[in-house]
Symmetry: C2
Subunit: 159 residues, 2 copies
């Protein structure tokens, strides 16, 4: 993963196919690898709470915005029911969440925090600081990273 500068001339000149190929798979692989590296550190940080990283993301959404239908959680986290249904079932089995069929629209299921689920927030508070420290990035770099990633995701989703 060393920084191998392109062999082809000046900074932003048109690149040869071979260089493009290398840059592409460096970027995509870096993304893939970074995502999994984060996962590993989160796994460790969340071990005591009994949460996986995707479960933690769902809890974050619920801690911030109270009871939500499965659909809305899926929109925020970019996840479909095929992923969320079993995940929420596990959170319910762990006693952190309740699922309530909506009265107005019986297709919809609202996800509510239990007392235990709400209480877990306190124990989760130190996690972000620990994660940010583990990245070793400056705040400005984090913001750059977030902005680039958000933009890429938006663009890719349109295609």
């Amino acid at each position: 993963m060393a920084d191998s500068p392109s062999p082809s001339g000046s900074p932003d000149s048109p690149l040869a196919d071979a260089d493009l190929l290398r840059l592409d798979h460096q970027v995509c692989f870096s993304l893939h690898a970074a995502s999994r590296a984060f996962g590993a550190v989160y796994r460790d940080a969340l071990k005591d709470l009994g949460l996986t990283y995707p479960q933690y993301l769902v809890m974050l959404v619920l801690w911030e915005d109270g009871p939500l239908p499965v659909k809305s959680i899926g929109e925020r986290l970019r996840l479909d029911s095929g992923t969320l249904s079993p995940l929420l079932k596990r959170l319910e089995a762990a006693g952190l969440v309740r699922r309530v069929r909506s009265a107005e629209d019986e297709r919809s299921v609202g996800v509510h925090l239990t007392d235990a689920g709400a209480a877990l927030r306190e124990r989760a508070l130190p996690v972000p600081r620990r994660m940010l420290a583990a990245t070793g990035l400056e705040l400005s770099e984090l913001r750059t990273l977030r902005a680039l990633l958000s933009r890429v995701t938006r663009t890719l989703d349109e295609a």
Copy 2:
């Protein structure tokens, strides 16, 4: 995913826990989401080749550096044998790869491209350009992104 600026004052001042929490999960979630968004576009681009994205990464390594033991592939892709063994078995079943037990060290298994595996490279060549275009990023931004991600991964792996 809107850019919600921190409510707490100046650019890089110490942030409150609540802001940190938000920034943390914005960064980590962005990474997670971007990785999956890439996966979706790759899935489409690789459909015709009959490869998944992780399988494509393995093929890229083999196309670049010829026959390699499973161990080396794992080091480059940051994957362990638990992931690689079944993946390689599928590539072998697809006729793209052969696994050969090493004679010098019988613990080691070398992964070799078959003729079909080597030939597949031609059909994979247009994929990177298509992916880079789909990101909508400038070359300089791609380089920034790659550099940041590589650094974060390295730092996280040390922890």
